[in-house]
């Protein structure tokens, strides 16, 4: 396990602007984010020998992006099928490719026009083929907000989790976004604003949902040795885990056979993840937790071991996840307020925090960060990274 720990580093992050209508192709978005990430690292396209992304039939693959950018030679690439749950496995696999010597410098990117072209809610394209949709779609049940509402209700039933507790997550993340110039939503909100927002699918309201966003984000992965010669303090990939348990391919991901909707695949991979990095939940200074909906944050606080099962609601109510709390969560505002680039903008924010370069929203002295993918609902499995600043 330790053969992987701290062998590779993230040396560059890049973004396009986030918007509701980019007006450009996903190829253009990918190119802009990759060039920005290389520039941030002090590298050029000539230094790139590998590319990695994930998509669900909604974006431009590496074998189109590489020649479009004039990458001289590609020694490895990854075109992973999947949505948010695989987002962090893309960066993890890039780190594996570097650690194994197959590649030297990998750009990982995700480019989507999730508002103007391919909306996850079902308009603008055919929904991604989900194996068990036949048992759900005829009843008007197929959109992610509905699925997460179903899981959130199970958590409320089991543990008494409240609307107000979910609302505290939305309010805290918006407060962080106020300090993030890149964020799409920068007006503060109150718990009353949250409670007044309209129902989407009870028990979830509009302000429980992430922002359908056009945009791209990229990060550059290379070896620790090479990283030390580059522009920024390297951010090491200390641990990575992805996959799931015995439910991985049995349908639990689509909510068909799981015995308990209140436990996610995050609980399954967390021990492996912490063991690989040689840290525990108490060592995490900042956590960027996949927040397609408020509820996914709450359940991951439990499943990554920051509080006991069922205590996620009281934990967020205590203020622990605020920027000045014991465990600052989604310091950029997350998908709820910064924008939704399907996972990789969480990795980029963790890198900014560990560089000490997060501006007004910097967590003082942040050295170890957890960044996570969609925790395994809808499409099974999850993925996560533990990053740390090079001592």
């Amino acid at each position: 396990m330790t053969g992987f720990r701290d062998r590779t580093a993230i040396v560059g992050v890049g973004y396009t602007p986030f918007s509701r209508d980019s007006g450009v192709s996903t190829l253009t978005l990918a190119a802009d984010a990759i060039l920005a990430a290389l520039d941030d690292a002090g590298l050029t396209v000539d230094d790139v020998d590998a590319l990695a992304t994930h998509r669900v039939g909604d974006s431009t693959p590496p074998w189109v992006v590489a020649p479009a950018l004039g990458v001289p030679e590609v020694s490895w690439y990854l075109d992973q099928f999947g949505g948010g749950s695989v987002s962090h496995s893309v960066v993890a696999q890039a780190a594996m490719a570097v650690a194994s010597g197959v590649a030297e410098t990998v750009v990982c990117y995700r480019a989507i026009n999730a508002r103007s072209e391919f909306r996850m809610g079902g308009t603008g394209r055919a929904p991604a083929p989900v194996f068990d949709a036949q048992y759900q779609a005829p009843y008007g049940y197929f959109a992610p907000p509905q699925q997460f509402a179903m899981y959130a209700r199970a958590h409320m039933n089991a543990y008494g989790t409240t609307h107000e507790q979910l609302g505290r997550i939305a309010v805290a993340q918006r407060a962080n976004a106020v300090k993030n110039p890149r964020a799409l939503k920068r007006d503060p909100i109150t718990l009353d604003d949250y409670l007044a927002s309209r129902w989407i699918a009870e028990p979830l309201r509009l302000l429980d949902c992430c922002l359908e966003t056009d945009g791209a984000c990229a990060v550059v992965v290379t070896s620790r040795e090479r990283a030390r010669d580059l522009r920024h303090r390297p951010v090491l990939v200390s641990g990575a885990a992805w996959g799931g348990g015995d439910s991985f391919l049995s349908g639990a991901g689509s909510g068909m056979t799981g015995t308990d909707f209140t436990v996610t695949e995050a609980a399954r991979i967390a021990p492996r993840l912490y063991a690989m990095a040689g840290v525990g939940p108490g060592d995490i200074d900042v956590a960027e937790l996949y927040d397609c909906f408020t509820y996914s944050v709450l359940v991951q606080l439990e499943d990554y071991g920051f509080c006991a099962k069922g205590e996620g609601g009281p934990f967020v109510e205590s203020g622990a996840t605020a920027l000045d709390g014991a465990l600052p969560v989604n310091t950029h505002g997350g998908f709820l307020s910064e924008g939704y680039v399907h996972g990789i903008n969480h990795v980029a924010e963790a890198v900014s925090q560990l560089r000490g370069a997060a501006g007004d929203r910097q967590v003082p002295g942040a050295e170890v960060a957890l960044s996570t993918a969609q925790p395994g609902y809808v499409l099974a499995g999850t993925s996560a990274l533990i990053l740390r600043s090079d001592p």
């Binding site: 199970a154 039933n157 989407i200 699918a201 049995s250 349908g251 068909m256 056979t257």
Partner: protein
Amino acid sequence: MSLAQRPRPETDRDSAPWWRAVRRHELTVQRCVSCGTPRFPARAVCNRCRGREHLWVPVSGTGRVYTWIVNHQVFMRSMADEVPYTVVAVRLDEGHDMLMYGDLVDGDPAELHEGFPVEAVFTDVDEETTLVRWRPRPRDPAGRASSRRT
């Protein structure tokens, strides 16, 4: 209700027998011939013993609500006149880990709770397709949900 406009199930080679049974207003699950484990949704291989032989066996059509939503957003124009509607996830009485979904008919979502007893209702939506939906289970004079077959 615009049932005729709803999305049709995209059946596959494993699930076709289940949908044919539903068309006959029969609710079935698979049972592994080797180890006896009942399973749903349809799969060719038992994930307990890897057995390939199975039987389709009838179930009672009764279950209990595990969780539910009340949908307000119009995600699909063809269902615009149905909002708000309630979708329930039901654990079958024959097996805790066998879940079926469907909309709630003849019931008030405000009365739902985990464990709420329901029974299957078959609705023919056109010449080819029948859907399984769920309604509150009638109560006997003692106030307990009955377990009568549908």
